[in-house]
Amino acid sequence: MIKEIAKYIGIVTCAVLIVGYFIRPSLDTAVGIDLILWTTIILGFAAFLGIISLTKIHTFNLLRSKTDKQGISSRQQKLLSLILLVSMYGTILIGVTSSDIFGNIYQYVYNSIYGAMFGILGPFFIVATYRAVKFRSIQSAAFIISIILGALVNISMISGIPIVVGITDWFSNTIVTGGSRGMTIIFALGVIVLAVPYLLGKSTQYHGGE
């Protein structure tokens, strides 16, 4: 029964939004505001569930004394779980009580770690290129030539050479644009194929049906 209600709410909401996209009544503004409120409530609730789940898993880790399948000893697990719980609840507490300290934690801890994790992709990317990207076949040759042209655009001292400009411009404006446009069309068609059965109530996969 709940699933049926959810299905009909979903169908009506989507139909109103789609109609409102092409026609300009005020009805879908009201629906839009309700959707934002619901999204906020659901996201907040999801975050709350996430905190409970993390707490449950890592409290369990703190209490047990077995080495796990990856070979991480219970002592290491306990330490990691303790760090996670202290970091999570500490940051929440500081976020609620002091915006200055939270700002510093965000800037000098979270931001730095996030940036480092993002930056670490670069060296691994180069190693992967050195070891795995080889002219083994026509497909791989096309792939390598594409990434070389992509790289040339980013090397400022080379990207200004007229012949390089010609080749990279043609590559960007013809091959890349064509490919991206094709993928966008395929994606849009895929969305329609998925959405129509859902909007007509024929598919219930999104809310846990078969």
Partner: protein, 287 residues
């Protein structure tokens, strides 16, 4: 039987310990920072269009700056944000800040010193710029903001009611916005095209990651975007148009040498691969 010396060299080259490649990359990047080379920068059409769209603004035109990225992307996007904000201040544009994609927008606004920079340029909060922080709801919020900003936003990020912000007196919907600029490391650009360009005909420009730029080319050729730039190279091009040396041009040197290093590794890896194949063939191997 002992293998020929050439074969072992090629094979050794192919199985080189990755720490040497990491070290090589580290050295070239550090050198680029230590000894600025100032390679010439060529301005590409998407960046020139981005620049022209801001340069055409009149004093008081309303521009929305949407901070739609996570802090991890600041290495690529901070240079773009700095130079675009400097250009907007130069044109005396009125600026509305918000972020829809990630809840990090308010902290990035603080970390990047956006408000402080505008104050130093003579901007007055509430009159010349406002900050709404993070707005939940993503696509639904973007759609509703486009129709009626006040139906979503009742107060700014500091709790000031929207009625008390003089800048917002004449800003009711996307129709009152001269330009929306999204700094995006995901798919926010597509969101703004769907919800603001197509239905509201608002001009949108995208400051994106270097890797995200090719994805935006179809929208540029269809004029659904008025301009776009990708990562630090985009910021470097913009800075060269503005004739200032900022974060983009500093990063550009490092990008130049690291990309050349990467292409050299690509070439070397293939030389080693084909060297090994040819040696095996010569010595009567299977391939």
């Amino acid at each position: 039987m002992r293998m020929p010396t050439e074969t072992s060299i090629w094979e050794k080259m192919q199985t080189i310990d990755r720490k040497y490649i990491f070290l090589g990359l580290l050295i070239v990047i550090l050198l680029a920072y230590a000894v600025p080379i100032n390679f010439p920068v060529t301005v590409t059409p998407p960046v020139k269009r981005f620049y022209d769209s801001i340069d055409a603004l009149k004093p008081g035109d309303v521009v929305v700056v949407s901070i739609d990225h996570v802090p991890g992307s600041l290495s690529e996007l901070a240079g773009e944000e700095n130079i675009v904000l400097a250009h907007l201040a130069q044109k005396k544009a009125a600026i509305i800040f918000w972020g829809l994609a990630f809840p990090d927008a308010p902290q990035i606004y603080i970390m990047q010193g956006m408000g402080d920079f505008l104050k130093s340029q003579g901007y007055v909060y509430g009159k010349d710029y406002v900050n709404f922080g993070y707005i939940t709801g993503k696509e639904s919020a973007a759609e509703t903001l486009g129709r009626d900003i006040r139906s979503v936003l009742k107060a700014d990020a500091y709790g000031t009611p929207i009625e008390k912000l003089p800048l917002m007196n004449n800003v009711r919907s996307a129709k009152d916005v001269a330009l929306l600029i999204t700094f995006d490391d995901g798919y926010a650009t597509e969101m703004w095209i769907l919800q603001w360009v197509t239905p509201q005909k608002t001009k949108v420009a995208s400051g994106n990651m270097a890797g995200g730029l090719p994805r935006l080319l179809p929208y540029l050729s269809a004029n659904q975007l008025v301009g776009a730039m990708g990562g630090a190279p985009g910021a470097a091009q913009y800075e060269s148009l503005m004739k200032v040396r900022g974060r983009g041009l500093v990063f550009q040197d490092a990008i130049n040498v690291s990309q050349i290093f990467w292409l050299a590794m690509l070439a070397l890896g293939n030389v080693a691969f084909f060297g090994a194949v040819l040696t095996k063939r010569k010595s009567g191997g299977t391939k």
